[in-house]
């Protein structure tokens, strides 16, 4: 029959691979490492020559040694653990609230009209301006820090989730109606997966803001955490320790971002977009 033949040829023309074979992207890793490697090399050379002061600018080698020392004494793991707990808690509360409220606001116009103007207004207030209030109200304890981080993590998640929901193809809602999706199915089977690209972007931004707010909270007053460690080292001009704190922030920040990016690649495999 003609149909069968035509269908076969149509199928033969397009071999479908569900999972493209992926090897580790060495090339792109090397490309990304060029600039940092060059900076480290120049820095080390300059401080070894005595061209720049080691006390003031430190050197990669000294920083590495300091890493070793601080890990051996258990100081670094201790501070890092406390910082990680604070940032994660803040991200979970703030990001979670942002996701939930963003979803509700996105799905219902009346809710949007009630909630969104207030949130947008609050969003423009610089976090540093609120920090003194938080310290007055909640003290120097963990609560004020976690709340500050939550507040920072809330907005990017909220804005992106809201945007993601509003970007859902309206035509798919008719499909949901024909397939008799109830409210729950419409949310979990239609809105959430469709808004996922934006939600993941919100997660990344939210994570980095959580990290940023953590530093603010810990620099302003804390007895522990990586931020405190930096602040403490600064008063004794221990540049090496300051650099350890800074680099650990960079490393953990990059790591958390990478985790979300891996998640993005796995969850958004269905997307048909330009990959450069």
């Amino acid at each position: 029959m003609t149909t069968t033949v035509a269908v076969r040829s149509e199928q033969a023309a397009k071999p479908i691979t569900d999972r493209p074979k992926r090897t580790f992207p060495w090339k792109s890793v090397i490309r990304g490492a060029i600039i940092p490697a060059a900076i480290i090399a120049i820095w080390q050379i300059l401080s070894s020559n005595g061209a720049i002061s080691e006390t003031l600018y430190s050197s990669p080698w000294n920083i590495l040694k300091e890493y070793y020392e601080l890990t051996k004494t258990g100081e670094l793991p201790h501070h890092l653990r406390i910082s990680l707990v604070r940032a994660s808690l803040g991200f979970l509360f703030g990001g979670g609230a942002g996701l939930l409220i963003g979803l509700l606001v996105g799905m219902s116009r009346p809710v949007e009209e009630v909630v969104n103007p207030t949130v947008q207004m609050l969003r423009t207030i610089p976090l540093l301006a609120i920090t003194p209030l938080f310290i007055m109200w909640f003290g120097f304890g963990e609560l004020s820090k976690v709340l500050l981080i939550s507040l920072g993590a809330f907005f990017p998640m909220y804005v992106n989730t809201f945007l993601g929901v509003r970007n859902v193809d309206a035509k798919l809602f008719d499909v949901g109606r024909v397939l008799e999706f109830n409210w729950w199915k419409r949310t979990t089977r239609l809105v959430l997966p469709a808004a996922l690209p934006n939600i993941l972007l919100g997660t990344r931004l939210s994570l980095s803001i959580a990290w940023l707010c953590l530093v603010v909270a810990e620099l302003l007053g804390a007895e522990s955490g990586v931020g405190y460690m930096i602040q403490d080292a600064r008063s004794f001009v221990q540049t090496d320790v300051v650099f350890v704190g800074i680099t650990i922030f960079a490393i953990v920040g990059k790591l958390s971002d990478s985790i979300v990016r891996v998640l993005e690649q796995r969850l958004l495999r269905w997307q048909d977009s330009f990959k450069g």
């Binding site: 149909t3 008719d174 397939l179 997966p193 469709a194 269905w270 048909d272």
Partner: protein
């Protein structure tokens, strides 16, 4: 045609008025139409005759009308799975692969769903593409997935809104044959909206010709040709001409241009 069997779908005196500011348009005007079980009805007419609106009303997607629509003596007041709907675009969920799209909200880990999905994949000839994502397959294949998704719900009636309109001529012809096969296998009642006369005569047991402004039925032409039909046969061409005449007649009634 089986006139003795009770009508499955009854459309009785349906009118719909579209208001835009001060002007009102009679999209549908006292339209009545029945379809029995296993019927293949095609609605054809000039653009703006309300044929797509009629389909949306039958589907329960549009409830703003006067008159009544019943399926098995129950009033249609909302969309449901007993009224399968195929849109002009496939409207698959881009994040689900072919088999998950067919299952949609049902779980493929349930053996009865799994079995039905496999059967339907065979029926729409998509074996080997179960794991492909919509972006990886052609428009014709996507539309077949959409048909399988609707059929999985065992609809009493399948409503098709210009389903092959956006496809190229070859794919369209293949899909028409595929649809006939599905219809002959499942005996699902079909209501198809199209502007393609060939498609109407090739597929249906009855062609309903509609008139625009106000949207009403101009004539109902039974197509008593045995399947499979030959598009080149004289009987086919005669019926084609008949439908065309009926359509042209309806279109000359409105002033075409004012200069």
């Amino acid at each position: 045609m089986t006139t003795t069997t009770k009508a499955l779908l009854e459309i009785d005196n349906v009118s719909k008025i579209f208001r835009n500011g001060a002007s009102t348009t009679h999209v549908l005007d006292r339209l009545s139409l029945n379809a029995t079980e296993g019927d293949f009805v095609t609605v054809i007419g000039p653009s703006g005759c309300g044929k797509s609106t009629l389909l949306k009303i039958i589907a329960g997607l549009d409830t703003d009308y006067v008159g009544s629509v019943n399926i098995e003596n129950r009033k249609v007041d909302r969309p449901s799975q007993e009224k399968g709907f195929i849109f002009q675009e496939h409207r698959l969920f881009p994040w689900l692969n072919v088999e998950s799209n067919i299952a949609a909200d049902l779980s493929l880990s349930k053996p009865e769903v799994r079995e039905r999905v496999n059967e339907l994949i065979k029926l729409v000839k998509l074996e080997g593409f179960e794991k492909a994502y919509p972006r990886q397959i052609s428009g014709g294949m996507s539309q077949r997935v959409a048909i399988a998704r609707a059929l999985l719900r065992k609809p009493k009636v399948l409503l098709l809104d210009e389903p092959f309109g956006a496809l190229d001529a070859f794919t369209r012809a293949h899909l028409q044959e595929a649809l006939l096969e599905i219809w002959q296998t499942n005996r699902t009642t079909m209501v198809l909206v199209t502007h393609d006369i060939d498609e109407a005569v090739f597929l249906s047991s009855r062609v309903v010709v509609m008139d625009a402004k106000p949207g009403r039925i101009k004539s109902v032409i039974p197509i008593d040709l045995p399947y499979p039909r030959k598009r080149t046969g004289t009987a086919f061409q005669d019926l084609r001409t008949h439908v065309l005449r009926s359509l042209e007649h309806s279109e000359t009634e409105e002033p075409s241009y004012t200069i």
